[in-house]
């Protein structure tokens, strides 16, 4: 007799169970490709255990998405304001299926080496979310969704997998928005929950761990009464506040200790330098077929081949990766410098480039501040309050802004010595550009 349920062993969730329909999606080319995309790019050169792939992360996101769906739609957890957007019980099974398939699909647009290779390597207006959208629209996957029982609409999958932030032209219903928040949400999205747990496990660091069982169990759909509106959002029951704090602290520590580790960042830059040289016209293809043919394997083979040559495309960057002769950190953003001049790191980078040459310096800014967004919390007295304000910990959270300046190893000592002498003068003497115009005539109504 044919099996209707299948399981994967997983180091984070132990067993991940999937239906036969979900297995057909897992067997698709777009999903199987994720077996060959490292979750954390070249981070394994810093944390040797970080060789895990987007394949198992996506399975984990599906597992958590299903659990969250079951909790937030459980009749005991539904508050009155939610009933108006909740589909009837017959439709809930369909939406659970869409949500889990969307969770599987959410990363299929990633380029080789994930985020490391994305900046500047796609044509203008493209990113991995747009590639995900394109692959879901492609006949191979949309055809497959149509053959499932019941058939799943590709547009539903797309909305939940990509989210409102990246699907600007598509209108989301309140229900669509809530479900997409389960996967992609800024505060309690399961994509984040899984990658923090999984990345911490594989890197061998404890920073990313938090009590996700308790957190998932306490998630609720709640109206944002504290903001003077009935708009619904994913929030928590008060009992889950400490787990929420732990999740957001885990994110902060993982960013500062792992994702933005300076050596990891310079390897990302050397990888980008290599790809700009090696790819045709310095860009990845954006057709479905072009996207599917490239994985980390092809790029790694090319890097190893280039590193063995004396000259040719990408040789210098490839050699730096393979022989570990990466650029060295010479300056990191410092609060005292920023208080004098917010652009201190940029100014220092430009000054080094002017004195030692552009090819000898690299700048790695990270300014997605990672500020924690407000979220609704159901108090024990039944009021919905701002969870952010209810937490002494979260209100004190610093924004994560990091800036690193790297230089070629052969000039590192000289640059450090020079900066010791010149840095304060460079920062104090800087002025900003005053040429831009910023006043235009007011906007007109459409069709006016």
């Amino acid at each position: 007799m044919a099996k209707h349920e299948h399981e994967f062993r997983d180091p984070i969730h132990v067993f991940i169970r999937v239906s036969s329909d979900e297995r057909r999606v897992i067997d698709s080319r777009a999903f199987q490709r994720l077996r060959h995309i490292h979750q954390l790019a070249l981070t394994y050169l810093v944390y040797p255990g970080a060789t895990h792939r987007r394949f198992e992360h996506s399975l984990g996101v599906m597992e958590l998405a299903g659990r969250v769906f079951d909790v937030v739609t459980h009749p005991a957890n539904i508050v009155e304001a939610v009933r108006q957007v909740l589909p009837d019980s017959g439709s809930l099974a369909y939406w659970r299926k869409v949500l889990r398939i969307a969770a599987l699909m959410h990363d299929i647009g990633h380029l080789p080496f994930s985020h490391a290779a994305e900046a500047d390597l796609l044509p203008k207006g493209w990113n991995h979310e747009r590639l995900t959208e394109k692959l879901i629209d492609d006949v191979e996957l949309s055809g497959l969704f149509g053959k499932l029982t019941p058939p799943v609409k590709k547009d539903d999958v797309k909305k939940l997998a990509v989210g409102r932030k990246h699907l600007k032209k598509i209108t989301f219903s309140a229900w669509d928005e809530l479900l997409s928040e389960i996967i992609t949400g800024d505060v309690f999205g399961v994509d984040r929950m899984d990658y923090l747990l999984r990345d911490a496990y594989h890197c061998g660091v404890a920073y990313g761990r938090f009590d996700h069982y308790r957190l998932v169990d306490c998630l609720r759909i709640l109206p944002k009464h504290y903001a003077g509106t009935d708009e619904l959002a994913l929030g928590i029951d008060e009992g889950g506040l400490h787990s929420a704090e732990a999740l957001l602290l885990a994110r902060y520590f993982m960013f500062t200790q792992v994702y933005l580790h300076p050596v990891r960042r310079i390897y990302d830059i050397h990888l980008q330098d290599f790809l700009k040289d090696w790819l045709t016209k310095g860009k990845f293809e954006t057709t479905a077929a072009g996207h599917l043919k490239f994985t980390d394997n092809e790029v790694t083979a090319a890097i190893r081949a280039a590193a063995g040559k004396r000259k040719g495309k990408g040789v210098d960057a490839a050699r730096r990766i393979v022989t570990r002769e990466h650029f060295k950190l010479c300056y990191s953003r410092h609060p005292e410098d920023v208080k004098v001049q917010p652009e201190a790191a940029n100014i220092i980078c430009s000054a080094i480039a002017k004195k030692y040459g552009k090819d000898k310096v690299r700048f790695a800014p990270y300014d997605k501040s990672g500020k924690v967004s407000a979220f609704p919390m159901l108090s024990s007295n039944g009021d919905v309050v701002n969870g952010l304000e209810a937490s002494e910990v979260l209100t004190q959270f610093p924004p994560t802004i990091l800036e690193h300046v790297f230089v070629a190893p052969e000039i590192h000592d000289a640059v450090v010595k020079w900066l010791k002498k010149e840095k304060n003068k460079l920062i104090a003497n800087s002025t900003s550009n005053k040429n831009a115009s910023n006043k235009k005539k007011p906007a007109k109504k459409k069709g006016a």
């Binding site: 903001a227 509106t229 235009k440 007011p442």
Partner: protein, 184 residues
């Protein structure tokens, strides 16, 4: 516009909103900036999408975090149930007027206009007005031109807003737009 120029414009907006009695939370800054960019066309370059409480820019949200990290603005916690508000950090105004005095002066009229019209609004009023402006000027919305068509569109995307409230918001936006055109 360069980052430090955007910082100067946002700091000036925060200062004007505060003077008009605004709470100056993130939603207030988001919606006022949407009017400044979308209606007065101050070229800040933020990408706004229809999101929580109406038009929202993730770039702007990051930028506000960046301004905090750069010691130019501060987030001030408020007693429950109120959300945090922003204020200018000590010396920030002095530094920004020194670096970007011309930028601030050029945007002064537009910033003052936005603060005059939005400074006394609360979050739900701002949500309605900014969504009405989105329905009126953003080609992505496809809301139509009449007051009723735009109001119905607003209720469709924000079911918690009543039709009468949506109509009032559309009429108020039309009158703000007329005033902006007269100012130009």
């Amino acid at each position: 516009m360069k980052r430090i120029q955007r910082a100067a414009v946002l700091a000036s907006l925060l200062k004007h909103l505060e003077e008009k009695g605004s709470w100056c939370g993130e939603t207030h800054m988001q919606k006022a900036t949407y009017f400044l960019q979308g209606l007065l066309e101050v070229p800040l370059g933020y990408d706004f999408i229809l999101y929580k409480h109406g038009p929202f820019s993730f770039d702007l949200s990051d930028e506000l975090g960046r301004l905090e990290a750069d010691y130019l603005i501060e987030e001030v916690s408020q007693p429950r149930p109120y959300g945090p508000s922003y204020r200018l950090a000590d010396d920030a105004w002095k530094k920004l007027t020194h670096w970007e005095g011309q930028t601030i002066a050029r945007a002064e009229g537009s910033i003052g206009f936005v603060a005059d019209h939005l400074g006394d609004k609360n979050v739900s009023e701002l949500e309605r007005l900014a969504t009405a402006l989105y329905a009126t000027i953003d080609d992505r919305a496809g809301a139509g031109n009449t007051v009723d068509a735009r109001a119905k569109w607003i209720v469709g995307v924000k079911p918690h807003i009543a039709l009468a409230q949506a109509r009032d918001a559309v009429r108020e936006v039309d009158s703000i737009m007329e005033a902006a055109n007269q100012m130009a």
